[in-house]
């Protein structure tokens, strides 16, 4: 197929293309972010103190579904040190509901009005001189509830007469649709074989160590509400938050603050900053609101997917895949905060790296009395990959075919790119066979197959898992609305901006226009791009963040978009500055602009090492010597650039073609060799290797960090993490004592390898790579455990695979 880019995107691709070695990209430089965090000077949200700042705590609902009959705040209000007590009545009177991407009358307020719909929902907030007093006062608030029947199972929620989470919706089924691409039924009829699986993906969450937090600072004089927040992406959400606060967006100033991790949980952080701003407006002084851990667990802005699948794969006797049918019931909890966009992710890479021409995808989004679902690293694509790879393992078993061989036969070939998938999204580039061969060689797969047999003969339970995944990157906003035939709002922008300034002494300052530091390496990325363009020391670049009143359009990190997008923005600004520097230097050195090159912090004549000007000399001229500049040139050496998504198209009218919406697609293979202790269910790792292709690599070591960290997070999903609800809808594991996160003792040492297949459509050929690890571990652990326990006839169909479950399988098999 032929893919055309808009001229600006194509220009950036041309300008950033390079033959031969690069100066800074591809080098494992030390992160420029690190020193302040190493010294404990990271300035997270809870570290910031404003003069006269008060502190807030919330009262969380003890019930999953209840009408609020009365709230008596009188005892709390008279407690010494209490500034004010706020309830749903204040919210109903003075604020508007929180923004939502879901359709229909599904209203969410920052503090519940009239009724609560999930355990932990905020019912009141207290602002006090310190957090201790705020929490004391919360205990003094007397609330009378009328408990309502709860619904916690999405299938029960769909039954006639089920308790309604939102009465005005008149159903708990918020969304239902079947997308069909190709001739699925015919392909299933014609195929020689099918496998089917009922699969269950549990609700867990990103669980960053730093919870969501914000400080509201209302200036009654100007009416400006300043909110310091550890997430908030300006273009996308700011005006929506302003609407909730009933102020013009021009009077809302968001100041970005570094986040101690997000993993999706801060992506569309709508509740916490809005509440902090609102409380500040009522208290008329700065108010800090930072979730404590329990609040984060039961009341955070995003939980991960909570899905039930009925999925089938059709294939022929030789292992050729023919068609895929996926039916998903997704338990969204009490609100449809982020809509069904997490399934857009699935549709961007639903066929994985395999040639599958016919796909049917049915989704029922159901509301229940649980906390609302949103983004978690992988954004639904990690779930979809687990489903696909489970089906592939089952197909291999059905055919008695090796799991590598069946995958190899179906891989899209290196000469097939750009590859149009059945949904309309494309895969831009790849060499999947190359990645596979690399991981097999890395692990010495044949050795481990032999070793597995040898160890099994000794009675040990050793298993191998091998899985592949796509890693889509850089979403287009169409994925948030192509669900609907007549969407209310159809945005197509998701830009990123950068400002680049060289000061009069020749030092570089980059300003970013999103809250982008949440554990990734935005400052290192832009420093390396600047160093690439100007041949300077990346550690000398100063990176700063604009607040929203000074910011250009930005979308922030998420969906593995930031590295690609900010690189495009920095490259665009660099091109403008380089042009200006060339003009000045050409004039001064009396040489054609085309003969100049940037080298070692200077601009000089190619082939003449002594004919050059340092960037400091050029900059001083640009700022201070107007009469030395070419006639029409303005003083200064600063540029800004806004970079739009470089390759996206609209969906068609009947949604049989969703367009290009996630087109820069990386690829990965992991191999794990594990041993299961049948007595305790404990899993040990004998070998774990990962090979990823994320296009051109900016920094191999930080990419390794993302891959290893993501892999381990996926291991948590595979083996440990799940929110447990009792029959009343209360979360039973609301602390780290009972919600186990992987520790240093639970995780393997992972060998990471890379292949680089540049994207033809992005700056420098970079693809995003923040989520890949988590897309593979659930599938690989499922396959490895199946294999290790093959004597017991085990097939993993639900996660997490607990030690108890393994012991149960073994004892049942022994009977």
């Amino acid at each position: 197929m032929i893919v055309e880019q808009d001229p600006n995107a194509a220009r950036i691709v041309r300008e950033t293309a390079r033959e031969g070695p690069r100066r800074s990209l591809g080098k494992s430089i030390n992160r420029v972010e690190d020193p302040r965090f190493l010294r404990g000077e990271g300035r997270y949200i809870d570290d910031i103190k404003l003069p006269n700042m008060a502190h807030a705590a919330i009262v969380r609902s003890p019930h999953a579904h209840a009408r609020i009959i009365s709230i008596d705040t009188s005892k709390a209000e008279v407690l010494g040190g209490v500034v004010c007590v706020v309830t749903g009545r204040d919210v109903a009177e003075l604020a508007a509901p929180l923004p939502s991407f879901g359709a229909g009358p599904i209203i969410q307020d920052m503090i519940a009005v009239e009724k609560v719909r999930h355990y932990g929902e905020a019912v009141a907030a207290v602002v006090a001189e310190n957090r201790y007093i705020a929490e004391d006062a919360c205990d003094l608030i007397e609330i009378v509830y009328e408990q309502l029947p709860v619904v916690l199972d999405p299938f029960e929620a769909r039954r006639e007469g089920a308790p309604l989470v939102h009465e005005k919706l008149e159903t708990n089924l918020a969304y239902e649709r079947t997308f069909s691409f190709g001739e699925v039924d015919r392909a299933f009829t014609d195929a020689q074989r099918t496998v089917n699986a009922k699969l269950r993906w549990p609700r867990s969450t990103g669980m960053p160590m730093d919870t969501n937090g914000a400080i509201g600072d209302y200036d009654a004089g100007t009416g400006v509400v300043t909110i310091y927040a550890n997430s908030m992406n300006f273009t996308y959400f700011l005006w929506l938050i302003a609407a909730s606060l009933k102020i013009p967006a021009s009077k809302l100033k968001i100041v970005p603050v570094a986040a101690g991790g997000s993993f999706g949980s801060k992506f569309f952080m709508h509740k916490v900053p809005t509440l902090a701003g609102f409380l500040s407006m009522l208290a008329r002084r700065p108010v800090k609101y930072v979730e404590d851990r329990v609040t984060h667990i039961v009341n955070n802005d995003h939980c991960g997917s909570d899905r039930h699948y009925d999925a089938s794969l059709a294939f022929d006797d030789d292992g050729t895949f023919k068609a895929l049918k996926i039916d998903c019931t997704d338990d969204y909890g009490a609100y449809l905060q982020f809509g069904t966009g997490t399934h857009g992710n699935a549709l961007s890479q639903v066929i994985g790296p395999y040639r599958i021409e016919h796909v049917e995808y049915s989704l029922a989004a159901v509301l229940t009395n649980k906390n609302q679902q949103g983004a978690y690293r992988g954004f639904g694509a990690e779930v979809s990959n687990w489903v696909l790879e489970r089906l592939v393992d089952l197909a291999a078993r059905e055919l008695g075919m090796d799991r590598v061989e069946i995958r190899r036969r179906n891989l899209i070939g290196p000469d097939e790119f750009p590859y149009r998938t059945p949904t309309g999204n494309i895969y831009d580039s790849g060499n999947y066979q190359g990645v596979l061969e690399k991981v097999l060689a890395e692990v010495d797969y044949d050795h481990w197959v032999a070793e597995r047999e040898r160890l099994r003969a000794e009675g040990r339970h050793v298993g191998i898992g091998i899985v592949a995944s796509q890693e889509r990157s850089v979403f287009s906003s169409t994925e948030f609305w192509f669900w609907f035939d007549k969407p209310e709002f159809t945005p197509t922008s998701s830009p990123e901006s950068a400002s680049l300034q060289i000061d009069p002494m020749g030092n570089f300052v980059v300003t970013l226009h999103s809250q982008s530091m949440w554990g990734n390496s935005p400052e290192t990325v832009v420093s390396q791009v600047v160093a690439e363009e100007f041949d300077i020391d990346p550690a000398s670049v100063v990176v700063t963040y604009a607040d929203s009143q000074h910011a250009l359009p930005g979308t922030g990190p998420g969906g593995s978009r930031y590295t690609v997008m900010v690189s495009g923005a920095v490259a665009g600004a660099a091109a403008q500055l380089k042009e200006k520097i060339r003009r000045i230097a050409s004039d001064k050195l009396e040489v054609a602009e085309g003969d100049l090159e940037f080298r070692g912090g200077a601009v000089g004549v190619r082939g003449a090492p002594d004919r050059q000007l340092t960037l400091g000399e050029v900059a001083l001229t640009a700022y201070m010597f107007r009469l030395d500049l070419p006639g029409d040139m303005e003083s200064g050496l600063a540029a800004q650039s806004t970079y739009d998504h470089p390759l996206t198209t609209l969906p068609n009218a009947d949604r049989s073609d969703l367009g290009m919406f996630y087109p820069f697609v990386g690829h990965a293979w992991h191999i794990a060799v594990i041993e299961v202790d049948p007595e305790t269910g404990k899993i040990s790792f004998l070998r774990y290797a990962a090979v990823h292709d994320a296009g051109t690599i900016v920094n191999p070591r930080t990419l390794d960090g993302q891959i290893i960290g993501g892999t381990v997070q996926g291991l948590g999903t595979a083996l440990y993490e799940e929110y447990l609800y009792d029959e009343h809808g209360r979360v039973r594991n609301e602390s780290f004592e009972t919600y186990h996160l992987p520790s240093s003792m639970d995780v393997p040492t992972i060998t990471v390898g890379h292949q680089e297949t540049p994207s033809p459509y992005t700056p420098y050929g970079i693809k995003g790579a923040g989520e890949g690890g988590r897309m593979l571990t659930p599938a690989i652990m499922s396959g490895a455990i199946d294999d290790a326990l093959s004597d017991y006839g085990v097939t993993v169909t639900s996660l997490p695979i607990s030690a108890e479950q393994i012991v149960e399988w073994v004892s049942a098999g022994k009977r």
């Binding site: 020193p35 809870d46 201790y132 101690g260 240093s744």
Partner: protein, 167 residues
């Protein structure tokens, strides 16, 4: 806004400097450090004693500062992350090893990891085995790194002599 009836005088040596103050009985060491002394490098992630992100050294031994009351450290010596770097921010050997080995991503657990690793390296200046390093840091939860680069950083620090520096 303290309650006079429950306040107590404390005298604590924090990062080599004696500090005197009056605290409520229920004030945790973590909040005392963060709120009263503005030492915000000590981070709270669960306030429940499980994640270890608030670890500090009390008389040289790691403690969860969320589980210790400020009054309990009266007369004792507390070391926080702020004590590690030099007067102009020069990283110590362990911090440098974390920097060189990408031992941090979001940086939130990093102060606790550093202090925990310092305690370990003081006892095991040769670094010990990877398994021993993993065991030493198993009480500190990191959600970003998967721990691997932290283990490598601690090993590199041992090789650079950080254990002898800690002693």
């Amino acid at each position: 806004m303290t309650n006079e009836a429950t306040t107590h005088a404390v005298r604590v040596e924090v990062n080599g400097r004696w500090r005197e103050g009056s605290v409520e009985g229920r004030l945790t060491l973590a909040d005392y450090l963060r709120e009263d002394l503005d030492l915000t490098g000590t981070h709270l992630a669960c306030e429940n004693g499980f994640c270890g992100n608030c670890n500090v050294l009390l008389d040289g031994e790691t403690v969860r500062s969320c589980l210790v009351f400020a009054v309990q450290v009266d007369g004792r010596a507390v070391t926080t992350v702020e004590a590690l770097a030099g007067p102009r921010g020069e990283l110590d050997l362990l911090q440098k090893a974390f920097h060189d080995n990408h031992g941090l991503q979001c940086g939130f657990c990093t102060p606790a990891m550093l202090l925990t690793a310092h305690e370990y390296l003081r006892e095991n200046p040769d670094g010990g085995s990877d398994q021993e390093i993993r065991e030493a840091i198993s009480g500190v939860t990191c959600r970003c790194t998967g721990y691997q680069h932290i283990v490598e950083a601690i090993r590199a620090a041992a090789e650079a002599g950080a254990g002898r520096e800690s002693a």
